[in-house]
């Protein structure tokens, strides 16, 4: 390895600034890509695609500096990325290693996700078939491993892929019975309530709540949805937000108390006096014609709009 960085022509598209050659060399050696027949040029090409697809982890349109590029490359799970790409290209040694390392954990994960030994093994086998590239498109074997980009661990990616397959399969086969709604979305009381005209105060209260929920930040809406709609525990939500469960508890308390105050303010703005607004908060929730799931699913961002599998509240 040269003692001084040697500037080399970086693969087109990574950056206008040439990447120091010793960084890619080091990453290439550390990932043991050569063991799976990946030459340095192929390795650089993979990194180029990964970086271009995610803009080095920066916001769209932002320009990455060389330091940010290097930091992004070092944050990747390069060994897993190399293995996944080698498997996708059909390298026998890579598949041997993949099976030795991931076969048992993958089956266990599938069983844990489905809650059934037979279903789990079926799910894992189906994914294996996909990963191996049994499906072809335009005569070319396609493997989902090509879509792995090394942002997280390969095992985590496999688990998430399994979960996606399971949820999508569940939704396809039981479209009238959402995963977490055994009533199938049919609520007799709500249907009956829609036919009646609610009192004016309840209409105002519904509007006030809807507006207050819309004003919440994404994390706050996620907290409310995860805790109140999905029934997740503090302990289950905490690792997703990378905070302690006590912090989740405090945040939930803050969100609900803030929500209550905002609803009162909204009611006052809609013409109610403060005592009347507070009194309106004591209304029976069953009298409200509100679909909180639907309200929480209204996002200010339009980046993701569910099409193929609409959320259960929209069904």
């Amino acid at each position: 390895m040269p003692s001084q960085p040697v500037e080399a022509s970086a693969p087109a598209g990574i950056s206008a600034v040439p990447e120091p050659i010793h960084v890619l060399d080091k990453l290439w050696r550390e990932s043991e890509a050569a063991a799976y027949g990946l030459e340095r040029e192929q390795f650089s090409e993979i990194l180029e695609r990964v970086a271009a697809a995610q803009n080095f982890g920066l916001a769209a349109g932002a320009k990455a500096t060389r330091k940010q590029e290097e930091s992004f490359f070092r944050s990747l799970w390069l060994a897993d990325l190399v293995l996944a790409r080698a498997c996708a290209s059909g390298h026998p040694g890579a598949w041997e290693h993949f099976l030795a390392v991931y076969r048992q954990p993958l089956t266990r994960a599938a069983i844990a996700i489905t809650g059934s030994d037979s279903l789990g093994r079926d799910l894992a086998d189906q994914l294996y078939a996909e990963l191996y590239g049994l499906t072809t498109r335009d005569g070319v074997r396609r493997s989902p491993l090509d879509s792995y980009r090394g942002r997280g661990s390969l095992m985590g990616w496999l688990r998430t892929t399994l979960a996606q397959r399971y949820v999508d399969h569940h939704r396809r086969t039981r479209r009238e019975l959402p995963l977490d709604d055994p009533t199938g979305g049919y609520e007799p009381q709500a249907a009956a309530a829609e036919t009646e005209t609610p009192p004016a105060e309840l209409l105002l209260l519904g509007r006030a709540i809807e507006e207050a929920l819309r004003q919440l930040a994404a994390e706050e809406r996620f907290l409310l949805a995860a805790y109140y709609l999905d029934g997740q525990t503090l302990l289950e939500i905490a690792p997703l937000l990378h905070v302690h469960e006590a912090t989740i508890s405090r945040k939930l308390h803050r969100v609900t108390s803030g929500l209550r105050k905002q609803v009162v303010r909204n009611l006052q703005r809609l013409g109610l006096s403060k005592p009347a607004a507070r009194e309106a908060l004591g209304a029976d929730p069953r009298d409200l014609n509100l679909n909180l799931k639907k309200i929480l699913q209204i996002s200010s961002l339009d980046a993701f709009q569910e099409k193929a599998a609409p959320p259960r509240g929209m069904q």
Binding site: Q54, I113, T160, V167, D168, L240, Q297
Partner: protein, 379 residues
């Protein structure tokens, strides 16, 4: 934000996994979080993936790998067995070490004690050798062992006849423990029991013995007090049997000069009996003398906190004294059954709690509490 091939506008597995593993930058994370807030399908995906990850972290298959070929595995698994084994070995060593001392001098001491010198109680006191005996200092242990040898010698074989002409009567029904006659008396564990049901009135030492006893107490009073003071600080609440106190000096006196030389430092019975005295060594000398309860019966349990002293006699009557036993007041019965134990509540340091509080137990195991010793409420 990347999309999946299956659902064009959902975050793909890469983004969801990176979100769950905290591998996303702030902008991407905010974007995924906003989507998760509105998309129950993607929330469900990360819940399931998280559940599978938690399941994978459970070490269900770790033992299989650890049980393969570790040469020292059996030693590793057996390492905790060394602790009780070592403790048993130490106990065995103690027994082997002190066993000759217990047995050898007994006949000699029994011979040295003329049976007519001391009027022995009709029933020899049941010895209470606490399990903490081995923790006591060596001199005290030696003195105690000698004192106990006298009793053991008196209980066994010919020496029993010499030391106690009258056979020990069987224990009264409903009293604490049985007599430790025969071979059982030699086993410390078998003699760890409640006091012998012998009333203090039964024991009347002869005047000469009593005078000698008082002289011995005066000469060794200071040392006795200091010895007991250290023990008192360690033992907070234990039942005290005055029947044993009442008989021990007599036995010591009957052992003759040789024995008394060894037991001078600590009078026999003064530290063998568990004490709950909380006031330090000032009460140690008083322990030797039998109690003077108005009922005339020996006390089976005693508790002291602050200036209050509570004692239960053999009949189960409770007495209260606020002047260290000079005057007693019998407390009206407010509990069921027969009171067998009274204790004072202690603080974390083992000292009496600032606010005196007592607990009383009956023979059914029920407990009553009192703050002043007079009014009792069931717990």
């Amino acid at each position: 934000m990347n999309t999946t091939s299956q659902f064009d506008l959902h975050p793909d597995a890469e983004s969801l996994n990176a979100f769950a593993e905290q591998a996303l930058g702030a902008p991407e994370r905010e974007q995924v979080l906003a989507h998760l807030a509105q998309c129950s399908r993607c929330r469900q995906v990360i819940y399931l993936a998280q559940q599978a990850a938690a399941d994978a972290e459970a070490p269900a298959w770790v033992p299989a790998t650890r049980l393969t070929t570790q040469p020292s595995a059996w030693l590793w698994n057996w390492r905790y067995a060394w602790v009780p084994a070592a403790a048993m070995a130490a106990a065995l060593a103690l027994v082997v070490t002190f066993h000759p001392r217990h047995t050898a001098p007994a006949p000699e001491m029994a011979k040295a004690a003329p049976p007519h010198d001391v009027a022995m109680p009709t029933s020899l006191p049941q010895e209470r050798v606490s399990a903490g005996m081995a923790r006591k200092p060596a001199p005290a242990l030696a003195a105690k062992s000698v004192a106990r040898d006298v009793e053991f010698g008196a209980h066994r074989g010919p020496s029993q006849v010499l030391a106690s002409p009258s056979a020990a009567p069987p224990a009264e029904p409903g009293t604490f423990g049985a007599s430790t006659g025969g071979s059982n008396a030699f086993l410390p564990s078998s003699v760890e029991s409640a006091p012998q049901p012998v009333s203090a009135a039964q024991y009347q030492p002869e005047p000469a013995v009593a005078a000698w006893q008082q002289e011995q107490q005066r000469s060794s009073g200071m040392l006795t007090a200091s010895t007991n003071a250290s023990q008192v600080s360690q033992k907070t609440m234990r039942m005290e049997a005055y029947t044993a106190h009442a008989s021990r000096p007599a036995v010591a006196a009957s052992a003759g000069p040789r024995m008394t030389q060894q037991s001078q430092s600590v009078p026999a019975g003064s530290f063998e009996i568990g004490t709950q005295e909380q006031l330090g060594g000032s009460t140690a000398a008083r322990k030797v003398s039998p109690p003077k309860l108005p009922s005339g019966l020996a006390a089976v349990s005693r508790a002291t906190a602050q200036h209050l002293t509570l004692e239960i006699d053999l009949a189960g009557a409770l007495f209260l004294s606020d002047d260290s036993g000079a005057h007693w007041e019998q407390i009206a019965r407010q509990w069921t059954g027969r009171a067998i134990e009274v204790r004072a509540k202690t603080g974390l340091s083992g000292n009496p709690a600032p606010a005196s509080e007592f607990e009383l137990k009956n023979d059914n195991g029920s407990t009553w509490a009192s703050a002043d010793g007079k009014t009792w409420t069931a717990l």
